[in-house]
């Protein structure tokens, strides 16, 4: 329990690390890197210990069902931060009392009686943050399987990225700041992950965004980099409209409560009208679209490659982009009920996810830059996760997040290692090639990670992707899915095919053929290769944590462990079902992956389909499609040129013009009226002053308002006239009002 109630120490450590590096980093012998590594290491150890405790505790408390048991699952919720949960817990506690048990501090493991017991309780602790009106808003931590999982993933990836960076950005102009922001980035993500309420989630969400801004724009001397940083931030802000509005809608829907547990329990129980949940979830989907790079707000993600490569690894594997997926998972009842996921065949979330998965994968084909290939690959894989959540395969989504973190981090860091060797170029078509011999460690780790991404049996990607495909529930013979999402299955299979193919293309360009760059490349040092090896190994084997239950021959404790420990139990999680393992689907998905690899292998390695080479130059139809892909479906053009251009240009200028001319003009008019019961009576002044004002206004570049020029003749008596006229008018108003 100590670990669960004091888990706030982990983000606090990273925040402290940020401050220490910022203020003392430059004076340290290693310029602050050592502070970062020590702290993130400590955070990782603590996260592992928390995870261990969680597993131990869950083991002590086998799952239970029924309202009493589910209520009891909430016994460790601080009643001050979640009133609804506290009520539900009271029901459960009552039962527990009858059964002769004590709550909270002494987990039910002490009792091994015949009755059903409860596992994976959320532990929620909070303190009063502030009060506003009659609302008390708390800040705290929500610890359950989901957050513990992310704690471990984030700290682990962050640790490896830190180690990798000490070599990779060695001698950088802002080395210290770089590490400071890595720490802050990690801290923000951990803060977000542990959020107890949605308000806290917004805070973490935005902090993550601003850290990514700082890191993407790390080399801000060059305009493209700062442009990319701005684009990332602004696109995310667009999505944040959805987040803000969604959180507000849900806050009122949950009876003025930000608490995640309250919200989830009420959504589950039907305490919130379906329409509100629908609006809330649609708003939040906008936020997910921007943060997790879903169509059509994905455009910032490939540009974000302008940042240092380790940062890309961190952003894509563990921190920023998974925030959207995590949020959906965290507020799952809202989406589950709001979008009616169960028993349906299409909904917004799954649709967006599937489109992203497929179209993102297609874009990866035309990239020359190896990092951009990986970026679109991330877009596509995030599409997989979002689809999984959309079809009700919660566990599969989180599982894929987990495995994807390892192999995608490995791929990014591998790309970094390659560019480190090739004079900091990421252009695999023009500056790489034939590196398999020169950089064996990089090559092998990259190959393993690629295979995992492509879903080659038995690497981790296979297991998680297969679970998602099964989760769509539309493949013949699949049991126990939440609905039948046929379209999604097809699109995901196509995406999987594309994934396998474009990754093979990458391998070909980077590691085979002749070296096309300058100088002599060399294998990277141990601080770079060690993280690669660790990540590749994890990427290879991580699948075993959630072997399907169909594998009866394994001992009981070896199957669906991930599901067992990570998936929340209790009233705050919807009653989802789990699709069973379908051998036929597994075979199909492996075949699809192999087909992708095979076709790409034949095309690139064996030079088969020679007729297809250069097709785009010859065939107009092919050229048309290629053009669309190269221009990224013209989204960038639409956003940057059309929308932003319009707002920054004509619209802003119009607003400014309005202010300077219309409003001030109106003021002039009032001024003119006030100057006299009529300019028309006295022509002298008319000609002298007004004409002068008009002429002056025309010729004056300084933009001095005409009213003041009119009154500001410097003639005392005109002031006097104005003054007394004003007095007369005011007195008139006064008399009328009082009278």
């Amino acid at each position: 329990m100590w670990f669960f109630t004091h888990v706030w120490i982990i983000p606090a450590l990273m925040a402290l690390s940020f401050l220490l590096i910022l203020f003392f980093g430059k004076k340290m012998p290693k310029k602050g890197a050592e502070i970062g590594i020590v702290f993130v290491g400590a955070a990782f150890v603590l996260a592992l210990l928390t995870g261990g405790n969680w597993i131990a505790w869950s083991n002590d408390n086998p799952e239970g069902h029924g309202p009493a048991a589910e209520g009891a699952a909430l016994a460790n919720v601080d009643p001050s931060c979640s009133s609804v949960a506290a009520e539900a817990a009271a029901v459960g506690e009552g039962v527990e009392q009858v059964e002769g048990k004590t709550a909270a501090s002494e987990p039910a493991g002490a009792e091994k009686g015949g009755h059903e017991e409860v596992a994976t309780r959320p532990v929620v602790s909070c303190v009063n943050w502030f009060e506003n009106g009659d609302q008390t808003i708390s800040i705290g931590t929500l610890v359950d399987g989901q957050s513990v999982l992310l704690l471990i993933v984030v700290t682990l990836i962050s640790l490896l990225v830190h180690v990798f960076s000490t070599d990779y950005v060695h001698g950088d102009r802002r080395y210290t700041h770089y590490f400071a922001f890595l720490s802050l980035f990690t801290a923000s993500m951990l803060f977000f992950v542990l959020s107890e309420n949605t308000l806290q989630m917004i805070v973490g969400w935005e902090l993550v965004g601003v850290c990514s801004f700082a890191l993407i724009g790390h080399w801000w001397e060059e305009k493209p980099n700062s442009d990319a940083a701005l684009k990332a931030f602004l696109t995310n802000r667009v999505g944040d409209i959805g987040l803000l509005v969604g959180v507000i809608v849900l806050y009122f829907a949950a009876g003025k409560s930000f608490s995640i547990l309250d919200l989830n329990i009420l959504a589950n129980e039907g305490g919130i009208s379906h329409n509100l949940l629908l609006i809330g979830s649609l708003c939040l989907i906008t936020a997910v679209m921007s943060k997790s790079g879903q169509f059509i707000l994905h455009t910032w993600l490939p540009d974000a490659m302008a940042g240092p490569t380790p940062v890309s690894a961190l952003i894509h594997a563990a921190t920023m982009v998974v925030a959207g997926v995590y949020m959906v998972a965290r507020l799952y009842p809202v989406f589950f009920e709001g979008l009616s996921i169960s028993g349906s065949s299409v909904n917004a979330l799954s649709m967006i996810g599937a489109i992203t998965a497929l179209f993102g994968a297609m874009l990866a084909f035309v990239q020359k830059d190896i990092k951009k290939v990986l970026a679109y690959s991330t877009v596509s894989q995030l599409g997989f996760m979002v689809t999984a959540l959309g079809v009700g395969a919660w566990t599969a989504a989180l599982f894929h997040l987990f495995t994807h973190a390892f192999f995608k981090a490995c791929l990014f860091l591998g790309a970094g290692s390659l560019s480190h060797a090739c004079h900091h170029s990421f252009n695999m078509v023009d500056d790489m090639g034939g590196l398999r011999k020169i950089m064996p460690k990089t090559f092998w780790t990259y190959l393993v990670a690629t295979a995992a991404l492509a879903g080659v049996f038995p690497l981790s990607g296979f297991w998680s992707k297969d679970e998602i495909l099964a989760g769509t529930g539309s493949f013949p013979g699949t049991q126990g899915a939440n609905g039948e999402y046929h379209v999604m299955l097809v699109m995901l299979l196509l995406a999987a095919f594309c994934t396998a193919a474009y990754m093979t293309r990458t391998i070909w360009y980077a590691f085979y053929g002749e070296y096309r760059g300058h100088g002599t490349p060399h294998e990277s040092g141990p601080r770079i290769t060690t993280p690669l090896i660790i990540l590749a190994s994890l990427g290879a084997i991580a699948g075993i944590v959630n072997l399907p239950a169909a594998f009866d021959f394994l001992p009981e404790g070896a199957q669906t462990r991930f599901e067992h420990y990570v998936e929340p139990v209790g009233l705050y999680f919807p009653a989802i079902t789990h699709a069973g393992f379908n051998p036929a689907l597994a075979v199909v998905s492996v075949l699809v992956g192999l087909a992708g690899i095979g076709l790409a292998y034949l095309y690139f390695f064996k030079d088969a389909f020679a007729g297809l080479h250069g097709l785009a130059e010859r065939n107009k139809v092919a050229a048309f499609f290629k053009n669309i892909l190269v221009n990224k479906y013209y989204f960038d053009w639409l956003y940057t040129t059309v929308i932003v251009g319009f707002v920054k240009g004509p619209l802003a200028r119009a607003a400014n013009w309005f202010s300077a001319n219309v409003i001030d003009g109106l003021v002039n008019l009032v001024g003119k009226t006030a100057v006299g019961s009529g300019n028309w009576v006295y022509k002298n002044v008319d000609q002298k002053v007004v004409d002068g004002a008009v002429n002056g206004a025309g010729s004056s570049a300084s933009g001095v308002g005409a009213m003041l020029r009119l009154t500001q003749t410097g003639r005392i008596q005109q002031y006097a006239a104005l003054f007394f006229a004003a007095v007369a008018i005011l007195a008139g108003v006064f008399v009328v009002v009082i009278g």
Partner: protein, 534 residues
């Protein structure tokens, strides 16, 4: 101690700066050292007094006025010298007491052309007295006097120490505000004549005030300028249409000061032409007089009219948010851009106010303080940039992070705070205001306010846009040849550090502990929200 504070605490806080100004007049022009010492000493003394007050403030009872002073003043019109401090005044008092010494410290080496520190600081001290007085006055006439007194020093600060078009800007500022306050005083006088003693519990409360109210009967003419008395009266006996007209007068007075959308055109000129110190004080404190007036005076005293006006205020606020942001995008001058951003940010505050709910009003109070700190800091930085580059043309700037890295970081911090980054103060003024619009006071049009909520949320994107574009164009990139090797461009000096670091700390602290303001102002605004039934 408590007795002393009760009798003298507020009076001293208000008039210590003025005393400083008097002392200053006795110092010969040449001894700049002594002048600066007095200029710093007087606000510090006032701040010390303020801290004493805040330490002795009963936070459990922040909805009631404390340290009340009530003396006869103008007997003929029953206007009294009433001062009081409650949870609504406290944050703004603290803001004023906090900002002015920092402005003086900043001025240590930065007395703008044409110099003459004696006059400059004298005006500053008079201004401080007037500002503090406005936040503490509990009598309409007293408030009005302080409110108007702020105009003169500001007029001279802009008109004498300002930029090239200072005369135009200062006169525009002066006339605009005077125009509004003329209507405001008419409204006040109308209240004096028309307000009647209420019935029921309010009558009991009114009688408990003592003095001429002690034996009032329901329906008696109130003939009072006391804010408390008028609040208890709650515009009893004023016909609704009359009340709406009266509110209109106050709306003009306060709305111009805020400034609200169609009345904002004085602000960019005044800000751009004012010396740095003037801009800082204008943005940090003077604009708040308008919003404060709405919360303290207009809404509780004539709640009926407030409800009628609320949708208009809300709409204008949101137009201000979007429109100010668009205006920012078109600016080429850094200071002017920041000035326009004030229009946008004060829009959030006004949106919060227009909901007439405790949540919204509280957000508005927070927004005022946050905007004061953040925009104050932005103007400080802009002033220092101007001093080094002799231009604020965004096109010509660039590479600030290279020329003066620390200043670049501070500018970055301020922009982030200004665009409402959570964890910094700006967010807590913005998000709760948006949130409160979802659920406005009972009887207001929910559909309208929810639409406003969404539009206000769109405003956050525009805010991010103009602020980040500003930052990109000024701080990122490499310095142009013009300024690349300019020896004038130095990093933050020690006076700037002294003046800025408390603001930086304040922004972070308020960001992490929003309760510091929410909890104090909460009970006070709740009472006000109850008077309007929100």
């Amino acid at each position: 101690m408590m007795n002393f504070l009760n009798d003298w605490g507020l009076v001293l806080t208000i008039f210590l700066p003025l005393a400083g100004a008097l002392v200053m007049m006795a110092i010969p022009k040449q001894s700049e050292g002594a002048i600066k010492l007095v200029a710093l000493g007087a606000p510090l003394a006032a701040a010390a007094m303020g801290i004493l007050l805040m330490l002795n403030f009963d936070y459990g009872d922040s909805e009631h006025l404390q340290f009340m002073v009530n003396k006869n003043w103008i007997e003929l019109i029953n206007s009294n010298f009433i001062l009081g401090l409650d949870g609504l005044s406290l944050p703004l008092l603290a803001l004023t007491l906090f900002i002015v010494p920092l402005v003086v410290i900043y001025s240590w080496q930065h007395v703008p052309n044409p110099g003459n520190p004696k006059a400059f600081f004298t005006l500053m001290l008079i201004l401080e007295t007037a500002m503090i007085g406005s936040f503490l006055a509990q009598d309409l006439i007293l408030f009005f006097v302080f409110f108007e007194v702020t105009l003169l020093p500001m007029y001279f600060l802009i008109g004498v120490w300002g930029g090239e078009q200072r005369r135009y800007a200062s006169i525009k500022f002066f006339l605009y505000t005077l125009f509004g306050s003329a209507f405001m005083i008419v409204a006040f006088v109308a209240l004096y004549f028309l307000a009647k003693a209420p019935t029921g519990i309010a009558l009991e409360q009114l009688r408990a005030l003592g003095g001429s109210y002690a034996d009032m009967q329901a329906g008696d003419p109130l003939h009072s300028f006391g804010m408390q008395a008028l609040t208890y009266s709650g515009a009893a006996g004023i016909a609704k249409t009359t009340a709406i007209v009266i509110f209109g007068g106050m709306f003009l007075g306060f709305g111009i000061k805020v400034p609200m959308f169609p009345f904002h055109t004085w602000l960019p000129d005044a800000h751009t032409q004012a010396p740095t110190q003037g801009s800082v004080i204008l943005a940090a404190v003077l604009l708040k007089l308008g919003t404060y007036g709405f919360i303290r005076i207009a809404i509780p005293i004539i709640p009926v009219a407030a409800r009628a006006w609320a949708p208009i205020i809300g709409i204008l606020a949101v137009i201000g948010i979007i429109y100010g942001a668009l205006g920012c995008l078109a600016q080429t001058d850094m200071k002017r851009l920041i000035a326009f951003s004030s229009v946008s940010h004060m829009g959030y505050t006004m949106l919060g106010i227009s909901t007439l709910t405790a949540f919204g009003l509280n957000a508005a109070v927070f927004g005022m303080v946050a905007h004061g700190l953040i925009t104050g800091l932005l103007f400080f930085v802009a002033g220092s940039v101007k001093e080094r580059y002799h231009t604020l043309d965004i096109k010509r700037l660039g590479g600030l992070l290279i020329s003066a890295p620390k200043m670049g970081w501070i500018l970055g911090f301020a922009t982030m705070a200004s665009l409402g980054l959570p964890g910094l103060a700006g967010f807590w003024g913005e998000f709760p205001a948006i949130l409160s619009a979802y659920d406005p006071a009972v009887g207001l049009n929910v559909v309208l306010f929810r639409t406003l909520m969404v539009l206000a949320a769109v405003g956050t994107v525009l805010a991010a846009g103009y602020l980040l574009w500003l930052y990109q164009r000024t701080a990122f990139g490499t310095p142009s040849e013009e300024f690349a090797n300019d020896p004038n461009i130095t990093d933050v000096n020690k006076f700037e550090w002294l003046a800025w670091s408390p603001i930086l700390a304040g922004i972070v602290i308020l960001g992490f502990f929003p309760g510091l303001i929410f909890n104090v102002a909460g009970p006070a605004v709740e009472v006000i929200a109850r008077t309007v039934g929100g």
